[in-house]
Every structure is written in C-alpha cells, then in structure tokens.
C-alpha cells in the first residue's frame, strides 16, 4: 500500500493546528477519539464509585462512608455509568469512527452537528460535576429519580436532571446523524444487504435514540417544573400521579437498555466471523432480530412496575410482551455460536472477550426471564437479584463488548498493537472477578436482600463480603487492561492495515486511516462476510 498521511497528520478543516485541530474538528475519527478519552475518564471514575459502594457493604454497619454519601454515590455511579458510559460509549466512539468507513463514506452526513454532539456530551458531564459541589449536594434519588421523593428531597436534583437532559440531546443528535448517514452516504455497490452488522446494529439503535429520547427529555423537564412551580403532575399531595412518572420514565429507560446492548451485539457479530474465518451464520436473521428488538423493546417498559400498584391486566400484557422480546436475543446467541461451527478459529484477545461476552450476557439474559415472569418478579423485584441481572447484561454484556471492540479496533484507530499476554490475563482476571462479584448478589436477592441498602441484617454478611472481594479482582483486571493498552503507545509496535483478516471495509484502508478514509475507491463485497478473498491472501502469504 502506498504511503499516505493518516488523519492524525491532516487536520480538518485544513489549517487548524495544535489543540484547535481537535476541538474544532469536523473529522468523525478525531471526534471518536475525543469521545474515547472522555468516556475513559467517566468509566474509571464510576468504577471507583462502585468499588467504594461495595467496600462499604463488605461489613455490617458504617465502615468507610455514611448513608448520605452512600446514597449520593450510588446515584452518581448510576447516572455516570448509564448516561456517560454505557449509552454513548459504543455508538459515539466505535460508531463515529467505523460507521462511515464500513459503508464506504468519507464522514458522517452532518460533521458540524457531530462536533456539537460532542460538546453537549462534555457540557452534560460538566453540569453533573457542578451539581456535586453546589446547592445541597448531589442528588440522592438513584438514577431513576422516582417521584414524589425526587420532588421533595433537598438535594440538587434539578441540576442533575438537567445534566441527564443535555446528555439525552447529545445521544439523540448522534442517532439522527447516523440514520441520515446510512440512508444518504453509502458508497457505490453498498446496498442494504451489503451493510456490515455493526452498522446495522447502530441503525436499529439510532431509531430508538431518536424516538425514545424525547420522552425522557420531556419527563425530566416536568420534574424540574414540578420542583419549582409545584404544579402537581406527579406529586400526589397536589393531586398528581406518581405512576405516571414511572410510566414516562421507563418508556424511555427500557428502550434505552436496547440502546445500550444493540451496538454491543453488533461488535460481537463482527468479531466472531473474523476470527472464525467464516461467514456470520444467518446474516439476515441477525438484521431482522436487531430491528425486532428495537420495535418490541419499545413495548415492554412496564415490566419494571409489576409491584407498583398498576392493574393486573397491565402486568399480564407487559409480562407476555417481555417474553416475546427474549426470542430475537436468543436467535442472536445461537447465530454467533453456529458461526464458529466448522470455522477456522484463531484465539486472540478480542475473540476471548467476545466469548466472555456470550457467557456473561447469556447469564444476564436468562436471569431476566425470572424477572419477566410476573409471580417470580414480585419476590426479587428491587432486590440485589435485579442489580446482579442488569450488571450481567450491561457490564458483562455491553462492558465486555466494549473491551472486545477496543482490542479489535485498537490497531486500526492508532496503528499500534498491544501485548496479547497481558490482554488475556486482564480479561480473565476481570471475568473471574466479575463472576465472584455478581453471583453472590443473585443469591442475596433470592434470600430477600433489598437493593440500595446502606446496611443490612446479619444473614446477608457472607454474600456481601464475597461480592466485595470479587469486585477488587474485577477492578484490578480492568486497570491492567487499560494499562496494557496505554503501554502500546510507549512500545509502538506498529500494526498492519489488516492484522486479523477482516472482510469489512475498515480493514481495506491504512491503519490509522487517512482523512478521507479511502485511498482508492472501496471495493464492496456482494456478501459482506465472504472470506474467500481473505483465505486466498492467507494462502498466498504462506507461499
């Protein structure tokens, strides 16, 4: 491949230098990296907050913090993880970087809007930080902001909610940008059935972002109005209805779960075929299941509310719909595993992390069935069982898919390769710690330990101690993983354009890519996971 200047050496717009070349850039790749560093910061902060919570819970009574701090910490942990890490991480980093390249485009459709979204993300994060240190302290409501408590508490709920509102705007605009880009900017020969599955998953996600986010934005505004003007929408003391708030909140926040997991599934659908050197099993089936999840996932929100006092008829309907949304998810898992059947599998860090994803995500998905069924949910609702379940899905799932994507695309984004051995050790350590951390919470939940408890009865002590111990291992694994990636900047072992043997377009361009992504007109495959070319090249290299 001829020598071309990478996007690092070519500012856009041209002429910008130094820090300006980053802060005013229109280049989707630079923006992706700017998101990457911001997301790293928030992730590490929220991991430490979570660790502090679990350390506090290792022993009965007050150990390292009091209940006020504890309540603010779990709220902050939730708000940061949801709005600043899990929702934006994969779309804003990998989506921004690779979506245009995967469809043969040189940027997103609205590059300036893309920059604006990044600023909204930063401002949202900044407002969250400000709300920590002003007024009567950070909100202590949990990330759900349930009324009437969120209306009556003295803490700084309005500012925290404003932060969530701004972050919602950022996510919505990114979604809008992606949908437009996929519709309008596909390269020559790139029909809908030539689009790689990661981009397809972002397409499904983007629609959910566009359609569901306004609901939470409006709801959060209503909470602020309720706090300042006391108009009585949600507060029963003024004739309002607290269940109305819960419906509105979950109408967004349940679809948001799919905003968090669909892109993660997209990453896994890229990694498994590449390291199996074999077509993804059921390409169309995976696309259909992504779209089915986006649609059906928008209709199940009230399964968070079986105990809320809503009617039994609602419980019936939402429980039934919840079981139906499980099906497309199961289809994806079966497809990933079948892809490996008779493949030619090469173990690498991204593949190992993808396999860990499949295991942890399956545990999360299957325990979700207990929560979807009406009678069993009543017992474990709002216990640590639920906490364990959604951490298996959001962290074991989206978190590990994020790690897998990071190791899969790292050589493409930076042109550098990392140390494999340390990557394996860190992934295994994090996974083992993860299991020790969350499995005890399933058991505690079945025994009846409620969530969001600062302190607990003696019968829950062993489980909480074990969970804290597992947490320490897990955090050690994650830190080792990040250090290993950081070391790659020092060692500078350069990566080739296609270190893994991929079929999607990002592997046909240099690592790191040039400003306009493609040196030559991209050659789009008729079927996006056709490995015959990769196999031919591998055979030729062998001689």
């Amino acid at each position: 491949m001829e020598q071309v200047k990478s996007f690092y050496e070519t500012p856009s717009p041209a002429g910008l230098t130094g820090i300006k070349a980053w802060l005013l850039t229109h280049d989707h790749k630079r923006l992706a990296l700017m998101y990457l560093w911001a997301v790293f910061f928030w992730l590490v902060l929220a991991v430490f907050l979570g660790m502090a919570l679990r350390l506090e819970l290792m022993f009965i009574g007050e150990t390292i913090m009091g209940p006020e701090v504890y309540n603010s910490f779990f709220t902050l942990h939730g708000v940061i993880m949801i709005f600043l890490f899990v929702i934006p991480a994969i779309p804003a980093i990998f989506g921004n970087f690779f979506l245009p390249i995967q469809i043969g485009a040189d940027d997103v459709f609205f590059p300036r809007l893309n920059l604006f979204s990044w600023y909204l993300y930063m401002i949202g994060g900044l407002v969250a930080v400000i709300s920590l240190f002003t007024g009567d302290g950070f909100a202590d409501t949990g990330w759900t902001f349930y009324v009437p408590f969120s209306v009556s508490t003295e803490t700084n709920v309005s500012l925290t909610v404003t932060a969530a509102f701004i972050l919602g705007m950022s996510s919505l605009l990114t979604g809008l940008n992606f949908v437009t880009t996929i519709h309008r900017m596909r390269g020559k020969g790139m029909g809908w059935l030539q689009i790689p599955l990661f981009t397809w998953s972002l397409y499904a996600t983007a629609w959910v972002q566009i359609l569901a986010t306004p609901v939470i934005s409006i709801t959060l505004v209503l909470v602020v109005i309720e706090r300042f003007l006391n108009i009585g929408l949600f507060d029963p003391a003024r004739g309002g209805d607290p269940l109305l708030y819960q419906h509105l909140f979950w109408m967004y926040s349940h679809p948001a779960v799919y905003i968090m997991i669909l892109p993660a599934m997209g990453i896994i659908s890229e990694i498994i075929p590449v390291f199996s050197r074999k077509a993804i099993f059921g390409y169309k089936g995976i696309i259909i299941s992504s779209m089915a999840i986006a649609v059906a996932g928008s209709l199940v929100w009230a399964h968070h509310m079986y105990t809320s006092g809503m009617s039994d008829v609602s419980v019936f309907v939402f429980s039934l719909l919840t079981f139906l949304v499980a099906i497309p998810t199961a289809v994806k898992v079966f497809s990933w595993i079948s892809t490996m059947y008779k493949g030619s599998i090469l173990m690498t860090p991204p593949l190992l992390m993808a396999l860990i994803f499949i295991y942890l995500f399956s545990v999360g998905g299957l325990t979700g069935l207990v929560l979807g069924a009406a009678g069993t949910d009543i017992h474990v609702h709002d216990t640590t069982f639920v906490v364990a379940h959604f951490h298996f899905v959001m962290f074991g799932g989206t978190g590990f898919a994020f790690f897998a994507g990071l190791h899969y695309w790292w050589p493409k984004m930076f042109g550098l390769m990392y140390n494999f051995k340390r990557a394996y050790i860190s992934a295994v350590l994090a996974a083992i710690g993860f299991i020790f951390h969350y499995i005890p919470m399933f058991i505690l939940g079945l025994q009846g330990m409620p969530r969001r408890y600062f302190d607990y009865l003696p019968q829950f002590e062993t489980g909480n101690f074990l969970a804290g111990f597992g947490g320490i291992l897990m955090v050690a694994g994650i830190l080792l993983m990040f250090i290993n990636l950081w070391v790659s900047f020092r060692v500078r072992e350069t990566a080739t354009a296609d270190p893994w043997g991929g079929t999607t377009l990002e592997w046909s361009v240099p690592s790191p890519p040039p400003l306009h992504n493609f040196v030559n007109e991209p050659e789009v495959l008729e079927y996006p996971y056709d490995f015959s070319g990769v196999l031919a090249r591998a055979a030729k290299d062998k001689g």
């Binding site: 429980s319 499980a326 008779k342």
Partner: protein
C-alpha cells in the same frame, strides 16, 4: 395451591430451564473453539445460513418462553386472589417505619402480629413518598403509594418471626425501615390484641 409454593415452583421451572440452556450454550461454544482451532482446522467451511435450523431455534424458544410466561402468571394470580375470610389489617409506610392498624383500632409500629392459620390481607398505603412492603418468606411485595391503596396477602401457616423490608428507595434511612412479622397461635393473638401497650 399455596401461593408461596406456586412462586417457588415457577422459580424452579424458569431457573432450571435457564441453567440447562446456559450449560448447553457454554459447552458447545467451548467445544467449537477447541475442535475448530486454526492449527487443527485451517480450512473453514462456507456455511451462511440454514432456514430450517433458524425456524426451529425461533419457534422452540418461543414455545418455551410462553410456558414460562404462563407459569409466572399463574403464580402471580396466587398472590393476588385473596381468600374471602381473610383478616384485614391496614398498613401505612412513612419515612422510616411501618405502621399497622388492626380492626379494633389497635396500632403498632414496626411489628405485625397475626394469628396462625388465617389468611391475612394487608391494605397498604404511604403517608409520604413511595415505599415498598416486602416479606421475603411469603414472596410478597407491593409498593406503598401515597393516595393510591394497594394490597398483598399471605397465609399465616407457621408460627415464627419473619423480616419485613422496605424495598423502594425512600431516603437516608431506607435500609433501616424494617419491621417484624410475628405469627402466633390464635389465642395468644386475641390476648395481644386486647392489651394496651
């Protein structure tokens, strides 16, 4: 059927199938990774899909999921259908305790005493923010909502003391909003009911 038993059977049914599925997925995955590793299996097959297989693995899980839904729903009905002869007790949640009001106007805080062998219906309300009334031993939980009465019931079938928790986050002392359920023989209950505290 006894509602606790109904819920527990639903747990066993759903968790049992889930564990089997998880083991199957994991074993097959690990087997494929080892069996088809590149050093032993350098030439991959080119299989892109298989409609029959995909139909099977869509339809079968759908049927299994529907049975799970049904078992879960049946057990839920058990928690909602209150026997007609149930003893009714009013329950109020407030930051940070549970108040119990008996038919003869007796009031207690943090202690719910009921007679053995009776079905007990709890009419639940909140005096301030949302709370949630939870007795793990009887698998019941329902939110206490200001201005909107809710209910739960259980069959007091065994003498003993049981924990009651608040499971809807309600503020700084949420974790200490506990109470005790005491099931006592009927005679003891009647005496207790008449004594002033």
């Amino acid at each position: 059927m006894d509602p606790v038993r109904g819920v527990d059977l639903a747990f066993w049914y759903i968790l049992g199938i889930s564990v089997l599925l998880l083991i199957a997925i994991t074993v097959v995955m690990i087997y494929f990774v080892i069996r088809y590793r590149r050093s032993k299996h350098p030439e991959p097959a080119d299989i892109r899909d298989n409609l029959n297989l995909e139909v099977v693995w869509t339809v079968l899980p759908t049927l299994i999921a529907l049975t799970m839904f049904w078992v879960g729903w049946k057990s839920y009905i058990g928690l909602r259908d209150v026997p007609e002869d149930a003893l009714e007790i009013e329950v109020a949640g407030q930051m940070y305790s549970w108040i119990f009001l008996y038919p003869n106007e007796k009031e207690t805080e943090g202690e719910l005493v009921v007679p053995l062998g009776k079905a007990v219906k709890l009419n639940i309300e909140s005096w301030d923010v949302l709370h949630s009334f939870y007795i793990p031993s009887y698998r019941i939980k329902v939110d206490a909502v200001p201005g909107m009465p809710t209910y739960a019931w259980f069959m007091a079938d065994k003498v003993g003391e049981y924990d009651i928790f608040c499971t809807e986050y309600c503020g700084i002392e949420h974790a200490y909003m506990l109470a005790k359920l005491k099931i006592v023989p009927e005679q003891e209950y009647l005496t207790w009911l008449e004594t002033e505290e």
